[in-house]
């Protein structure tokens, strides 16, 4: 790729980027969230079209105006969010968009898929439906899809973000096999140790520009970090000690069955102390969301007890909990679909949780305006004004508005789900600091996360969920990533 540039509105996502990849090598693109990695490869896969610049494959200049063009030239993309169709089988997903034959020959297809699987070491059943698959299996299908097409340039966008350490290990073995077969593999990541472990060469992106390209064998994590963030920053996360030994929230035998009759939570029991951060780890869909919503009073179909300072709140609605003077704040995973109303401005979003306490029939926005101004100032939200719709802010600023509202309510307890997902290092650390500040005030915190490094350094204890059950709880200061990864797959505490 030569001199590639791309803007979204006024934001320059990529500015004059040039890099090249050889066959038979694993090449890493490293950068923080928002550095422009995904934008760059999405142009390579034809999802976006570059504003300027040229793309060469096999020394031939190409123009991609759609993903079809990119596929045609042997490029295969494995997206961060899988592009799979849940209600179809693996085999059906693999041949979507193919042009080999008009009629689908199921038997022949199965044979081909099995032979590819064997060659690279996959264990995928072509007749299994996607909705029955684990994240790792789904990723295998994505890779098989690309290989079935005969692609020889593979791009993987944050492939390990959702995998356990064990699954990551397996993936890396497969990638190495591909490299041996002569494929060019591009892996996008923000995790340094993965770059060091698997790649041959690495290009670091910073704010849409190339910060440098080096051979992996000739560099070290420290140098790469410096390139990533521009200056040496303190990457460590504080973990202040727990102030007092007082249990604030105790959950006993919590079970939850959803509308389809599937057990989402299965006799979950745990407790959180005042001024403690309890981390919750688990592969996606292990019951984290249901657990958070249960504590909030959003889930009604549950059994068991949730004791908040000794008072059972399991059967209360969010407002009933609030009216008893128990302040539980919640930062949900789906910021714009749950936490905020995207088309409304900051003031109308700030008023959302307590507007109903106003006595009058009419809505008084004045107090909310003051609070909105306070939040914007406190968390340094970049916005043209407090009457600006939140969906026009950047991801980090959206999260700040949400966090600001929840913290401004002076909570006793704070439930957060993936609060730093999609944020750059700077914003993430601002949020970690804010969580620690709440901790020091004696607030009990639940932190649902996916990055095990963060969980291990921020939280006091980590509870691992698997299929709605608690597999175990470990002390974050002594546990290792491998322990947690093993438990995330359902393995018992070692």
């Amino acid at each position: 790729m030569v001199n590639i540039s791309k803007s979204f509105g006024e934001i320059k996502a990529n500015d004059n980027i040039t890099f090249s990849v050889n066959y038979g090598e694993i090449y890493a693109l490293l950068g923080e969230n928002g550095a422009g990695k995904s934008t760059l490869v999405n142009m390579l896969s034809g999802v976006y079209t570059p504003d300027s610049g040229e793309i060469y494959v096999h020394d031939k200049k190409l123009r991609f105006s759609s993903p079809g063009d990119s596929i045609g030239s042997g490029i295969g993309m494995i997206h961060q969010h899988f592009k799979l169709i849940e209600i179809m089988t693996a085999a059906e997903n693999i041949i979507i968009g193919q042009k080999r034959s008009f009629i689908i020959h199921r038997k022949k297809l199965k044979k081909t898929i099995n032979s590819i699987s064997e060659k690279y070491g996959f264990k995928t059943d072509p007749d299994k439906y996607i909705y029955d698959m684990s994240v790792g299996e789904k990723q295998s299908v994505e890779i098989l899809k690309v290989l079935y097409r005969g692609a020889d340039i593979l791009i993987l966008d944050e492939p390990t973000a959702v995998l356990t350490p064990q699954e990551t290990e397996k993936l890396f073995t497969i990638l190495k096999k591909m490299k041996e077969q002569g494929c060019a593999v591009i892996i996008i990541t923000h995790k340094l140790h993965e770059v060091m472990e698997i790649s041959d060469r690495v290009t670091v992106l910073r704010r849409g520009e190339v910060a440098g390209t080096v051979n992996t064998s000739e560099t070290n994590p420290k140098e790469l970090t410096a390139m990533m963030v521009g200056k040496a920053v303190d990457l460590s996360i504080d973990r202040p000690a727990i102030l007092k030994d007082e249990v604030m929230l105790e959950v006993k035998d919590l079970s939850l069955i959803d509308r389809d009759g599937i057990k989402k939570l299965n006799r979950v029991s745990f407790n959180v102390k005042a001024g403690e951060i309890l981390g919750i780890a688990g592969v996606a869909g292990s019951g984290q969301k249901e657990l958070c919503e249960s504590i909030q009073g959003l889930e009604r179909r549950k059994r068991g007890e949730i004791l908040f300072r000794g008072e059972d709140i399991a059967r209360l609605t969010p407002r009933a909990i609030f009216e008893r003077g128990l302040r539980i704040s919640f930062i949900p995973e789906d910021r714009l679909g749950m936490g905020l109303v995207p088309t409304m401005n900051i003031v109308d979003n700030v008023i959302m949780k307590d507007y109903y306490l106003q006595k009058s029939l009419f809505l008084d926005r004045e107090p909310a305006r003051e609070r909105a101004e306070h939040i914007v100032k406190m968390l340094n939200v970049h916005t043209p004004g407090i009457y600006h719709p939140v969906n026009q802010l950047s991801g980090g600023n959206i999260q700040k508005v949400l966090l600001g509202r929840e913290i401004d309510a002076n909570p006793d307890f704070l439930v957060t789900a993936y609060p730093t997902r999609g944020l750059d290092i700077g914003s993430s650390h601002l949020i970690y600091d804010e969580l620690n500040r709440q901790k020091m005030k004696g607030v009990g915190v639940i932190y649902v996360g996916e990055d095990l490094n963060v969980l291990l350094s921020l939280c006091d204890r980590i509870m691992v969920l698997f299929e709605g059950r608690v597999i175990g709880t470990v002390d974050a200061s002594t546990a290792t990533k491998e322990d947690i990864g093993f438990m995330m797959l359902g393995g018992k505490e070692c």
Partner: protein, 356 residues
């Protein structure tokens, strides 16, 4: 090559310009169609305006047609705010008219001051219930409300047909299937030459504007309409909000039915709605669900209908041409929304091509 990208910077003025040009485009497209029929489009349009606003009488007629449209559009806009695709206004109007007629026929001896409010209340309740039934199932089971409300239209229609040809048939009409006319105390009084429905409509526009923008209940509707999950998260009783909002939506449509039955027709018949329930969907969408705009758009649409009757006489152009015109205008405006949401830019490829 053309490229699209999302835009968020469209100002209100730009949006107005885009929508106005869409309407002009629609008018010119219909002009071609009128020319194909062998008429001069300009004179047809002019006489439509003439027919709608040409005299005091015609203006009154236009506003008379606009009243039920405004009331029903206000009702529909409330439902659409919730992203509840209520296309059952037709049935809700009929049921509202039915409720009003029930009192008009059975309590003929009550004085107007009691009877008319009773009729109004009955129409709101009947129309409201007609809307609340699908709303209940939508809130509880996420049942598809579009088709549900539509089926309710047909049920209401068949119900009125049954009444008109059966139990409520006027014995004094010599076997002709019609429902008896209302007695004088069941008819809306006139004020400035037009039944007081217009005062009701004006009041409702103001109330609706305040309700949606400045009350807590209105705020809840806006939140839930954007995302039910957010509403749940904020502690709102989402199901209840859906049900009572749609009750209000249907109730307003029902009230439109009462106004038509009592103010205009002075009786009930299967033709009571004259398609207002469907037209109101268009008008509330065109008004971006904003109450003051609804008033303007509805008067324009009423003018189009009124003008349509006029050109039928003047040019022998069937009245259904007005319906086609309505459809065309909405087609163009729907298409134009795209230019408000997206930006089209032209990329110059020549340079790239020349290098190959």
């Amino acid at each position: 090559m053309l490229r699209m990208s999302a835009r968020t910077d469209c100002s209100r003025n730009e949006a107005v310009i885009i929508r106005t040009s869409a309407i002009l485009l629609a008018l010119s497209a219909v002009a071609v169609f009128i020319m194909l029929l062998g008429h001069n489009p300009l004179s047809v349009y002019l006489s439509m305006i003439e027919g709608a606003f040409g005299s005091g009488y015609r203006i009154t007629e236009t506003i008379r047609k606009a009243i039920p449209l405004i009331v029903a559009s206000l009702g529909i806009s409330l439902a659409f705010r919730l992203k509840f695709w209520n296309i059952g206004a037709e049935g809700q109007i009929m049921m509202g008219a039915f409720g009003a007629t029930f009192f008009a026929l059975n309590f003929q001896n009550l004085p107007s001051v009691i009877l008319l409010p009773l009729m109004g209340l009955a129409s709101i309740i009947c129309g409201g219930i007609w809307g609340a039934i699908p709303a209940y199932f939508r809130a509880k089971f996420r049942t598809n409300e579009t088709i549900f409300t539509l089926m309710m239209n047909y049920i209401a229609l068949k119900w009125l047909t049954y009444l008109q040809y059966g139990p409520w048939k006027d014995p004094g009409a010599l076997g002709f299937p019609k429902i008896p006319g209302f007695t004088e105390n069941a008819v809306l009084p006139a004020f400035f030459g037009l039944h007081i429905g217009w005062i009701i409509a004006v009041l409702l526009i103001v109330i609706m504007h305040i309700f949606v923008n400045h009350t807590k209940r209105g705020y809840e509707i806006n939140v839930v309409g954007e995302s039910e999950n957010t509403g749940r998260y904020a502690g709102m009783n989402v199901k209840f909000i859906i049900i009572y909002t749609i009750f209000l939506s249907g109730g307003l449509c029902g009230l439109a039915g009462m106004i038509e039955a009592s103010g205009v027709n002075k009786t009930l018949s299967v033709e009571i709605t004259r398609g207002v329930g469907y037209t109101a969907i268009i008008t509330s969408w065109l008004s971006s669900l904003r109450a003051p705009v609804i008033a303007i758009v509805c008067i324009l649409f009423a003018a189009m209908i009124q003008g349509g009757t006029f050109i039928q006489m003047a040019f022998q152009i069937p009245q259904s041409a007005a319906q086609i015109l309505q459809g065309m205008i909405l087609f163009f405006v729907l298409g134009s929304e795209f230019f408000i949401k997206y930006k089209i830019s032209i990329i110059n490829d020549n340079k790239a091509e020349a290098n190959q």
